[in-house]
């Protein structure tokens, strides 16, 4: 039952992603993209990961509003010229060739994967034991992110700060007074 619900949600997400790519009306494409994001949130909820669900929903809402405003202010239909199928034979050959190559390399890896629902606990088992003993925080994900992997989180946060500073430098209307172009 659980696997059937999961597969149905994944099929829904795939359908919505195809609609997003193929739709000529940009507003419906944005709505279909939102359906992809919220379907992914439902999948995470089925897999019991509430951490990821909160992040997914918040980011999804912000991007959804921003994309809706962008479509509202600019253009409402996709005007990319479509290429006929018979003019695309080299691309189709390349796609077939690389799909065969991809499947050849991926199939051995898929066979080596562990069974669904029985993960390999090499690293995570020791993390779970050490969190209750050494840190004492209830939420193991946050404890791993902010204690064992705090260096990683620090760099992530500074990527965001660098992005904000870069946007500030690019978007300011007036340059420096003593700059070369003034």
């Amino acid at each position: 039952m659980f696997e059937i619900a999961l597969l149905l949600m994944l099929a829904f997400i795939l359908l919505m992603a195809i609609i997003t790519v193929e739709s000529r009306d940009l507003l419906s494409a944005v709505v279909a993209l939102g359906a992809v994001g919220f379907g992914l949130a439902v999948v995470f909820l089925l897999l019991r990961a509430p951490e990821v669900v909160t992040a997914q929903i918040v980011v999804e809402i912000i991007t959804f509003i921003t994309l809706i405003l962008t479509v509202y202010k600019t253009s409402k239909s996709d005007t990319t010229p479509q290429v006929a199928m018979r003019n695309m034979s080299p691309q189709i050959l390349a796609i077939v060739f690389f799909s065969i190559l991809f499947i050849m390399f991926v199939l051995p890896g898929l066979r080596a994967l562990p069974e669904f629902g029985s993960p390999v606990m090499n690293v995570s088992g020791s993390y779970i034991n050490r969190v209750t003993r050494e840190i004492g925080a209830n939420n193991i994900v946050t404890a791993v992110l902010l204690d064992f992997r705090a260096y990683n989180t620090l760099i992530e946060a500074f990527v965001i700060l660098t992005m904000v500073v870069g946007v500030f430098i690019v978007m300011r209307p007036k340059g420096r007074k003593d700059g070369p172009n003034s």
Binding site: P50, E51, V53, T54, A55, V58, V59, I61, I62, I65, L69, T132, E134, I135, G136, A137, N138, N139, V141, T142, A143, L145, L146, D147, A150, Y151, T153, L154, A157, F158, I160, L161, M163, V164, V165, V167, F168, M171, R172, P173, K174
Partner: protein, 148 residues
Amino acid sequence: MDPIVKKFANIFIAPMLVFGLYVVIYGHVLPGEGFDGGILIAGAFILTMMVYGREEARKRLNFSFALIVSALAGLCFIIIGLLGLAGFSPEHKFIFDNFLPQGNPSNLFSGGIVPVCNVVLGIMVGTGFYALFGYLVVSKGEKGENEK
């Protein structure tokens, strides 16, 4: 903006802000952490900016001030890591060492440096995203002056 949007925004901004603060402060006990709570706080401010316009949002919280607060929070994060390296516990000294007392699990004050890092990260991400949107949004009829 429309009066309908304004009415709904007036209702929703305060609960969004309170829920963001709740996620940040209880990040080490319940699901969620600094990133999610910070983006929720920034989302409340961004909603204010979209409904009432950029000038009105700038009067409440200046974008450059928000960027400076974000950078100072990042500095606080580095200082917490270096305090662990300085060594308050005698047996292990490394960067981001958990030097605060452990406390009772599932209490608010537990987990050593984890709640402190959560609050710092929430401030950093929230003000950073607010400043990002403030610099990117240029509304109609406005020349776009980011320098005040």
